[in-house]
């Protein structure tokens, strides 16, 4: 029931925020903040003291679940509500809710028009994402997978920047079409299972070990892979992302980069590989190559950008390449690394987009050629930019380093060549990141910008994300311990 509450608070909060618009443009944001803080409190309770909420772990033969909820939905097709939370889900829900708070912080001063409908969409996206991270019925999963798109589409289409129509449309069509391919795959899988076992069911647990192999298995697996790789995103289906990110309002970018991309990675870990072990095995070399190509190619492309947000967007694709590499290496280190990268990138990318958005809000451009010398004008902002850039590059002591290091460690055991090329990504990352610092914050303030430095709310958001990254970098064991049981239940051997 606790999960229902998590989503319900956001759904109801969203509606309340929308309705409250007529009472003044400041009311919706307060309501949204209250809703998301309530959720955050619940999630923290789940993390720290689940017994207060009356939660005890249940072992159903497919791992330990802190929460497991089942109810009929459409029995005609064997579709039910199955929600489950284990370590991995809980980590990602935590990330979702935390970045939800951050995104409200980043929208606080930016969104002035129609704020009620904005916060409605924001909260509904978050609720949809929580659904994705907890749904364990393939139909239900697909349902949330699509539902989280609609409010995000609204956010980009209404509050986006100059080229929003194109960006919003591209975002929606890419994810929707890849989603339809996944739906087709889900149906083939379900009917195959129906023919072999005589049970019509969409339940994740019952479909595990379906034994779909050979050419059909490969095609069905690819259907899942395409959907998740589009969301991740991986080259060559990544090109919706730079448009969507650069056109979205700051809070939209924060959610897109910080949370929505992680649903793709989560899908790969939770569904693609466990449901189709054999075809995935065959597919591993291709997937790992795609991962490396993503890392290197998009890093190169990022270097060529002058639009700050586009640059950060491309670096996101590059970092997600490590996740792809880690997932398909499928051993303890690599997977732990992939999960750490997901979490750490969620923080660092969100922070960088928030900075870029903050800059755009202040100087009304994202063109780096028109920036320069901002360090003396806005020292706090510049320091934050430096910190999160360095974090994204993979500075030891911060979360991203742990993630990428573990991925490389794990993938080294699978393929030395691939790992060698992937490691080059770290070098290129340093190049494109430092160019940002140099162009934007150093040099001469040719345009004589005089901007307001970070506000208290922004400082608070950045400080929270700093603490998170430092924690992940200095004591990653907290997260690793939580993810381990999930990975064990998925059949990963731990030393």
């Amino acid at each position: 029931m606790i999960l229902v509450w998590l989503m319900l608070i956001l759904f109801v909060g969203g509606i309340a925020a929308w309705l409250s618009e007529s009472r003044g443009s400041d009311v919706p944001r307060v309501i949204a903040l209250v809703a998301i803080l309530l959720d955050l409190a619940l999630v923290i309770l789940m993390l720290v003291a689940p017994e207060i909420l009356g939660l005890t772990s249940i072992d159903n033969g497919h791992g330990e679940w802190l929460v497991l909820f089942e109810a009929d939905w459409i029995p005609r097709f064997g579709i039910s509500f199955i929600f489950g939370v284990d370590g991995l889900s809980l980590l990602l829900i935590g990330l979702t809710v935390f970045l939800g708070v951050i995104s409200i912080g980043s929208a606080w001063h930016e969104i002035k028009e129609r704020s009620g409908f904005f916060y409605f969409n924001l909260l509904w996206t978050l609720a949809g994402v929580i659904g994705v991270f907890t749904a364990l019925d393939l139909f239900l999963f697909f349902f949330f997978w699509e539902v989280m798109l609609i409010p995000m589409y609204f956010i980009i289409a209404i509050w986006g920047h100059e080229n929003k129509e194109y960006a919003a449309m591209k975002f929606f069509i890419f994810t929707q079409v890849s989603g339809l391919i996944m739906l087709l795959s889900i149906l083939v899988l379900v009917f195959f299972n129906y023919q072999t076992n005589g049970v019509l069911t969409f339940s994740y647990f019952e479909l595990l070990g379906n034994g779909l192999a050979g050419e059909i298995g490969m095609l069905v697996m690819l259907g899942f892979f395409i959907a998740f790789a589009t969301k991740l995103p991986a080259v060559p289906i990544h090109n919706w992302l730079p448009d969507a990110h650069s056109q979205a309002p700051t809070a939209g970018s924060v959610i897109l980069a910080g949370i929505l991309l992680k649903t793709g990675a989560y899908g790969l870990i939770r569904f693609t590989v466990p449901l189709f072990p054999e075809p995935s095995q065959v597919f591993t070399p291709i997937a790992m190559t795609l991962g490396v190509v993503s890392i290197l190619y998009t890093a190169k492309v990022a270097f060529a950008q002058t639009d700050l947000k586009r640059l950060i967007a491309y670096t996101s694709v590059s970092h997600m390449g490590f996740v792809l590499l880690g997932v398909y290496s499928w051993n303890a280190q690599a997977l732990q690394g992939a999960i750490m990268t997901m979490l750490a990138h969620g923080f660092s990318a969100a922070a960088l987009f928030m900075l870029a958005g903050g800059l755009q809000h202040r100087i009304h451009t994202r063109d780096m050629d028109k920036m320069g010398g901002l360090w003396s004008v806005a020292p706090k902002m510049s320091f934050m930019a430096l910190f999160f850039t360095v974090a994204a590059v993979g500075m030891p002591g911060l979360g991203n380093f742990i993630g990428e290091f573990l991925v490389l460690l794990g993938s080294f055991q699978v393929s030395v060549t691939t790992t060698a090329f992937a490691a080059l990504g770290l070098v290129v990352a340093a190049v494109y990141s430092l160019i940002v610092i140099q162009k934007v914050f150093h040099g001469e303030n040719t345009n004589n910008y005089e901007i307001e430095d970070l506000t208290f709310i922004e400082m608070a958001c950045f400080a929270l994300m700093m603490i998170g990254l430092l924690w992940m970098g200095l004591y990653p064991q907290t997260m690793l311990d939580m993810a381990e049981p999930t990975l064990r239940s998925l059949g990963v051997a731990f030393p």
Binding site: I74, L149, A157, I158, M169, I173, Q176, L180, L183, F191
Partner: protein, 488 residues
């Protein structure tokens, strides 16, 4: 004639009675409101009659009509659609048209024809129903032609429909004649045994007959390549009539088509299946592609309906290889979903239009979300549903189509379906995007700011609630359809 037959015929009798009463009242007292209320009441009564009196099912009532859950389901839909059209027609015609009373007589006869079509298992009732529906529609499309200022070009549309539909009826009639010449029967269910008994399964005459019937049906359902009339007629007709055309006439035709093909075992002919497959693929592709180019919402809906009929044809083709029950269930669900969402969409257009001025360009909808959030919300819900996005009835419908396709292993058609849906998203999103944009210019008489009549509001609310209810909790509906399919 036993009482059972009379009970089952009650719906049809009520419809006929309403037609006569409306005609008499219109003859003596010309008052739009009164006639409208009488029509709506008559439709509502025939819609609800079986809630109070249990029909005897299944029953062959006279040679021509057959009542079972399937036919009742479709008659229910049809009458509901007609009721909505009647409610929308009042505000639409009231302001600009002088003589509105005959419209309702035509609406009643068209509805009666559609109900007969849905209940027919015999070629004679099939043809009678089709012609009653068709001939009433010609006049309905052309209805505003005498108004001082017609919004569109009703006469052109009616003429196009008359010629095309007449041609199709001719084709069907010739096809029926050929089949009758070979088999000596007009009952759908007697066709297969008769063909076997006479050993004419490979006769070219038989195939010619079937192809003519299918061709004629394709005209009526506006499947590619028989779709040419659709956009012009949709655009030229007054909005309530377009709504009727898009929902009632399509649903009635679909109901009888699936029954004809299933009962007469027509799926055994490979040539027929090939023709259907080509038409389905072409409809999905062409319908969606051409919809991309439209700037007029009614034309866009016309092309999108061509595409949706293509999706439905996938279900019908799948019936050849999957258990008939699933395809009956799938088609009924899709038709119901499509019915509801189309009515919702046309209700929004209708609320913004009258017979003097129709608001049907995509540009007209710019900023609707900020001008009239209620209408915009309905429109957005309907468009998402047409695009097949979860939380809406359209998604469950599409899920059914996918399920049928996967069970029937129709990989080619499923690929076309995915490509078609992808293109479809683009044009639905274009309208949604326009709705969400800031208001461009506010004219002094913004049609979006005028008060919406109670009836229209009720229609908007009911369709939206149904679209979302069927999308979130479709189980009650599925149970009805399962029992319907089982008794088919």
């Amino acid at each position: 004639m036993s009482t059972d037959v009379l009970i089952d015929l009650l719906q049809v009798i009520l419809l006929t009675l309403t037609t006569v009463v409306v005609m008499l009242v219109a003859g003596f007292k010309r008052e739009h409101g009164l006639v409208n209320i009488l029509t709506s009441a008559g439709l509502a009564a025939s819609l609800l009659v079986f809630v109070f009196i249990d029909p005897v099912l299944p029953l062959q009532a006279t040679e021509l009509l057959y009542f079972d859950e399937y036919s009742l389901f479709f008659s229910g839909l049809i009458i509901f659609g007609a009721l909505v059209v009647s409610i929308l027609a009042y505000p639409y015609f009231e302001s600009h048209n002088k003589l509105n009373e005959e419209f309702y007589i035509l609406l009643m006869t068209a509805t009666l024809g559609a109900v007969v079509l849905a209940c027919s298992t015999h070629f004679v009732s099939f043809f009678i129903g089709m012609e009653m529906l068709g001939i009433s529609l010609y006049a309905m499309i052309a209805y505003p032609v005498h108004a001082d200022k017609a919004a569109k070009f009703p006469l052109e549309a009616a003429l196009k429909y008359l010629i095309m539909s007449g041609l199709a009826s001719g084709l069907i009639l010739f096809g029926i004649a050929l089949l009758y010449a070979l088999t000596g029967t007009m009952f759908f269910s007697d066709l297969a045994p008769a063909i076997e008994a006479q050993d004419v399964a490979s006769s070219p005459v038989l195939m010619t007959g079937w192809l003519m019937i299918i061709g004629g049906i394709a005209f009526k359902l506006s499947l590619v390549p028989f779709h040419i009339w659709t956009p012009d007629v949709y655009e030229g007709a007054p909005v309530p009539v377009t709504a009727f055309l898009a929902t009632v006439s399509k649903a009635a035709m679909l109901a009888v088509t699936l029954r004809l093909l299933l009962v007469s075992d027509a799926f055994q002919y490979d040539a027929l299946m090939l023709v259907l497959t080509v038409m389905a693929a072409a409809s999905m592709m062409l319908g969606n592609f051409l919809a991309l180019l439209q700037a007029n919402v009614k034309r866009l809906f016309a092309y999108s309906s061509i595409a949706h009929l293509g999706y439905l044809l996938v279900v019908i083709i799948a019936a050849a290889s999957v258990p008939g029950m699933l395809s009956v269930e799938s088609m009924s669900f899709y038709v119901a979903a499509y019915f509801i969402m189309s009515l919702g969409g046309f209700a929004v257009i209708s609320a913004l239009s009258n017979s003097g001025k129709e608001l049907d360009m995509i540009n007209d909808y710019q900023g609707l979300f900020w001008r009239n959030p209620w209408l915009a919300a309905v429109m957005i819900t309907v468009l998402f549903s047409l695009a097949g996005i979860p939380l809406t009835a359209g998604f469950i419908g599409k899920f059914y189509v996918f399920t049928s396709g996967v069970e029937g292993s129709l990989w080619f058609l499923l690929t076309m379906l995915i490509i078609g849906s992808a293109i479809g998203l683009y044009y639905y999103l274009r309208i949604i995007y326009a709705i969400l944009q800031p208001i461009k210019k506010v004219s002094k008489q913004d049609p979006a700011s005028k008060a919406i009549p109670f009836g229209t509001n009720a229609v908007l609310a009911i369709t939206t609630i149904f679209v979302i209810y069927l999308g979130v909790y479709p189980m009650p509906m599925i149970e009805i359809l399962q029992s319907l399919a089982a008794s088919f």
